[in-house]
Symmetry: C2
Subunit: 232 residues, 2 copies
DNA sequence: GCCTAAAATATTGTTGACAATATTATCGGC
DNA sequence: GCCGATAATATTGTCAACAATATTTTAGGC
């Protein structure tokens, strides 16, 4: 868990540039292409192509595929090859269920472990500027803020085990969030919900924060159900 | 996620014998040795040794190590080798936290998805015979029953995503459960708690089942805190 | 023109050899 | 005898060639 997850974490937080081995770089880049739909679900990916493109041996590509498979981002069929995993409506709903309890736990632990002032920066970030940005459909700004929120919470929660599980589903959550954001009204609702959660966290009310976070995911689930014809 | 997890699941449920590729067999056997403390935490494991012992090439061993690392069972230090991951007290407590919410979700979904008679066999299993076995410290019987409970619930929950996350922590949970069972009084308490959960599930009361399951894990956590000097 | 069989091609799976790195043993100086 | 430098060994990291398998193309019969 430890080493690889640390590598992954720094990637997630500090952007696409990342250190580590050739294999790690490959994993990061492929991950990026998959979640940005540059490689849409069902795409076949050939070991040779990537090997040439990145100037590494096929063995590295193979190792990367192994990791990506373990993470559920690609599917490997023996002697046939690897394809980007398809995201079915069912699995989206499943994802909401686990997000609800895991992210709820995340904010509860984070609240318990911190002093009120820990949240000042984040509360500032989720202020008037961001609200205006959300109203103007500046999704990149909102996505970045959400990523920051997540990252800060995970750190405060201080549980490597929880972090590992959240990382496991991170890519799928990301792709889901990106889509859901397009639904008119969802982004601003999510924004207000995050404000509420942050207030509860600053007040040190862990139970309330957990409840609000769970409501946040539940309402996202509702929006998804309503609009899933457009989203899938 | 899909393919590999399916392989893993069948392994967990249907015992050490298992199909798949050389790599899969290796993963299973190493997993077994680690959770049974045949390879205690901190043990160094050499690629060559295993390659010879199993009569496979070092590449297969290498692949297996990659999977084991991803699952958090071993730690790989570049150019130094692989060692069995150490389990610290902190990580045990973390494990209880995530178990609480995930297994709570598991029984809630399982209850929602099933008819009362679905639980007949399991309620029978958690009957007078097993109670006597627990009183007589027949831990193997109890462990088997718990595994059955877990397996049946996961199937009923019907969420591949949840299953994947539970599988992720399964090995650590197992090693924790085995130890905790030795604490006088814990096993019989756990037994009664499972009876209560099963009753709630048969009654179709999903909320109650979830609450009881969470209490079950919380009480296990209490016992662990009290006796952790002996358990670690 | 269309279906089937077989050859040609492309792609993944596996291996053993070699390079890079870390660990251990040896030797000389003090 | 103890310490440090260097050589010897062991172990992991990487790769390119080869084998196994699947896919596509071609050829032939009807």
């Amino acid at each position: 868990m430890t080493k690889r997850n640390v590598t992954k974490l720094t990637t997630v937080t500090s952007g696409p540039k990342s250190g580590g081995s050739d294999t790690d770089r490959l994993v990061d880049e492929l991950r990026r292409r998959i979640v940005t739909n540059q490689m849409p679900p069902g795409s076949r990916i050939r070991e040779n192509e990537l090997s040439e493109e990145f100037g590494v041996s096929r063995s590295r590509v193979r190792d990367a595929f192994g990791i990506l498979e373990e993470r559920g981002l690609i599917e490997r069929i023996p002697n046939k090859g690897a394809v980007v995993m398809r995201l079915e409506a069912d699995s989206f709903l499943e994802l909401f269920d686990v997000r609800e309890v895991l992210e709820g736990l995340m904010v509860r632990l984070a609240t318990q472990n911190t002093e009120p002032e820990y949240w000042d920066d984040l509360i500032n970030l989720f202020g008037a500027d961001l609200e205006k940005a959300v109203e103007n459909n500046d999704f990149n700004a909102y996505m970045a803020a959400i990523a920051q929120f997540r990252q800060t919470c995970i750190e405060a929660a201080g549980s490597g085990t929880l972090r590992g599980l959240l990382d496991d589903i991170y890519d799928r959550v990301l792709s889901m969030t990106r889509r859901l954001m397009l639904v008119p009204g969802r982004a601003s609702e999510g924004f207000r919900q995050h404000q509420g959660i942050l207030r509860a966290m600053q007040e040190g009310d862990a139970e309330k924060a957990e409840r609000l976070k769970r409501e946040n995911i539940r309402s996202a689930r509702q929006w998804f159900l309503k609009y899933n014809d457009f989203l899938l």
